[in-house]
């Protein structure tokens, strides 16, 4: 017997958005539906098919999900005459799911620009019961600066390379930022958002990978920046993983973390 069913849906104004709904054969009652927006400019399949694997693994554990293309990406069209808005698209996704009896609460899982989109939507919509941000916002601390300076000293070949070849031509900013997809909000604004999310009873989880060590260098950096998250948010640091989870083992690790975190919400 099939453990899940995948169905393409068109939704939003004039059906301009496209996504795949994954529904388990046995859905856990009363559980939120997971929404996965795009990562960077890649379509709903996700980098290295990550979003498909997350959706299917969560379905096997009893959770329904929607992975979809925001306007202008993959198979989705921008609204005519309107600026692209991931927030409007996430709202349309939540409404499309609710109309299919897959609401009223949602959990967002976003990587990179997807984490930014998830954060902005979660901050403004009370239907969001939880969010897992992967390589989302990161802000420096004194400890971060010390660690970074120490690592540079420990790798003189990097300093030598920089002296010989100059700054790398490829930006070291987060991919989504360097592509102009999003900007980090000021630290105080992000902190106020997290505070409101916690007060609303939202469940928060964060994952940082080794590819973002230039801005996130040690496990508890997030908690040092936002102490209000301590004791409330789940946080995982995966220094051996890269930003797009290129290695299968790291994808499996992330998927297990997401599944267990969701199961913990139920408990």
């Amino acid at each position: 017997m099939a453990t899940l069913r995948e169905t393409p849906i068109r939704f939003g104004e004039q059906g301009r958005l496209l996504g795949i709904v994954t529904v388990p054969a046995r859905q856990l009652p009363g559980q939120p539906t997971v929404i996965i927006p795009n990562t960077g400019l890649e379509h709903r399949v996700g980098p290295n098919r990550l979003h498909v694997q997350i959706a299917r693994a969560l379905a096997a554990a009893g959770y329904a999900s929607l992975r979809f293309d925001i306007a202008g990406l993959g198979d989705s069209d921008p609204a005519p005459g309107q600026a692209a808005s991931a927030q409007a698209d996430l709202k349309a996704a939540a409404e499309a799911l609710t109309a299919r009896r897959l609401g009223p609460e949602f959990v967002l899982i976003g990587l990179c620009s997807g984490a930014h989109d998830a954060h902005q939507f979660a901050a403004s919509d009370s239907r969001v019961a939880g969010a897992l941000f992967i390589d989302g916002y990161a802000y420096p601390t004194r400890k971060f600066r010390l660690i970074r300076a120490w690592r540079r000293l420990c790798q003189p070949e990097k300093i030598w390379r920089r002296l010989r070849h100059g700054r790398p031509t490829q930006s070291t900013a987060p991919a989504g930022v360097s592509m102009g997809l999003f900007r980090y909000p000021p630290r105080a604004e992000a902190g106020a958002d997290y505070q409101r999310m916690l007060e609303r009873g939202m469940h928060l989880a964060f994952v940082y990978t080794g590819d973002v060590e230039y801005e996130y260098a040690y496990r508890d950096q997030l908690l040092d920046v936002f102490p209000q998250l301590r004791g409330y948010a789940k946080l995982w640091f995966l220094p051996h993983s890269d930003h797009t989870l290129t290695r299968r083992r790291t994808r499996e690790e992330l998927i297990a973390l997401a599944r267990d975190w969701l199961a913990g919400l139920q408990a």
Binding site: I20, E42, R44, G74, G210, H240
Partner: protein, 253 residues
């Protein structure tokens, strides 16, 4: 554009039907994507192509091979013989949906090699479009390996010693499953044979020896298939889609 699943119930395939927006032509175009990072990179670009084709009267079908993209299946179970069956299934689906008497098979990169193999196995195609077709399966696999190693090298240089990426498993390549049987079968894919009704399309930076007498189309844009930086960036192929569509309007008349 109509998204749907089709094919065998054990291995449904995800497809996107692009029906013609004006007067329908007599040839439908089956679009066979590439694999792995090239598949990801060209997704939106092939959609652009299908939209342009539809606007000029060509019905087309885009689809994902089993175990890839939105199609059913675990990537680790991928087999070349499954993908050849998938291609034949998609061709039959497109013929049935469009009612067109003629079928053109358009393959991009690995998709061109796969379409060639399907035609050798008996797939009936009235026209074959090979877009930046690798010289052979072995050539394609060698490039993917080089790109994978190149990207690893860049990451290793950027990351600190304490945060190195874990080793790649033997059965993965460029972030995608690459089981040994698949690797062997893809590596054995031969160079395309010359036959009537072939259009060889190549980007400005992609030189490949085409058979004598084959119809050529030189695109103005580069495609950067060999660049480890570009391979992770989307290729929208806007001008290439326009040039190719204009060519097909006359060539498939």
């Amino acid at each position: 554009m109509e998204p749907f699943y089709f094919g065998r119930s054990q291995r449904p395939l995800f497809g996107q039907r692009h029906a013609p927006t004006g007067v329908a032509r007599q040839t439908a175009v089956l679009i066979c994507p590439s694999w792995g990072p090239e598949y990801m990179r060209c997704y939106r670009g092939l959609r652009t192509l299908a939209t342009r084709l539809a606007a000029t009267g060509f019905e087309s079908l885009r689809f994902d091979y089993s175990g890839t993209g939105d199609s059913e299946g675990m990537a680790l179970d991928s087999r070349l013989e499954h993908w050849l069956e998938d291609l034949a299934t998609a061709a039959a689906e497109l013929r049935a949906l469009s009612g067109c008497p003629r079928l053109a098979v358009l393959g991009l990169r690995f998709g061109a090699l796969l379409a060639e193999a399907a035609i050798r196995q008996g797939l009936k195609a009235d026209a074959q479009i090979l877009w930046d077709c690798p010289a052979s399966g072995a050539d394609y696999v060698e490039l993917m390996r080089a790109l994978d190693q190149g990207r690893d090298r860049i990451k290793a240089q950027r990351r600190s010693r304490s945060a190195q990426l874990i080793q790649r498993a033997d059965n993965e390549l460029c972030g995608h499953a690459w089981p040994p049987a698949l690797a062997e079968a893809v590596s054995a894919l031969p160079a395309p044979m010359a036959r009537p009704g072939q259009l060889w399309v190549h980007s400005s930076d992609h030189a490949v020896a085409r058979p004598t007498g084959a119809e050529p189309l030189s695109l103005d844009e580069p495609s950067h298939w060999h660049d480890e930086y570009w391979i992770g960036s989307p290729w929208l192929a806007v001008k290439a889609s326009q040039q190719l569509t204009e060519k097909l309007v006359t060539w498939l008349r």
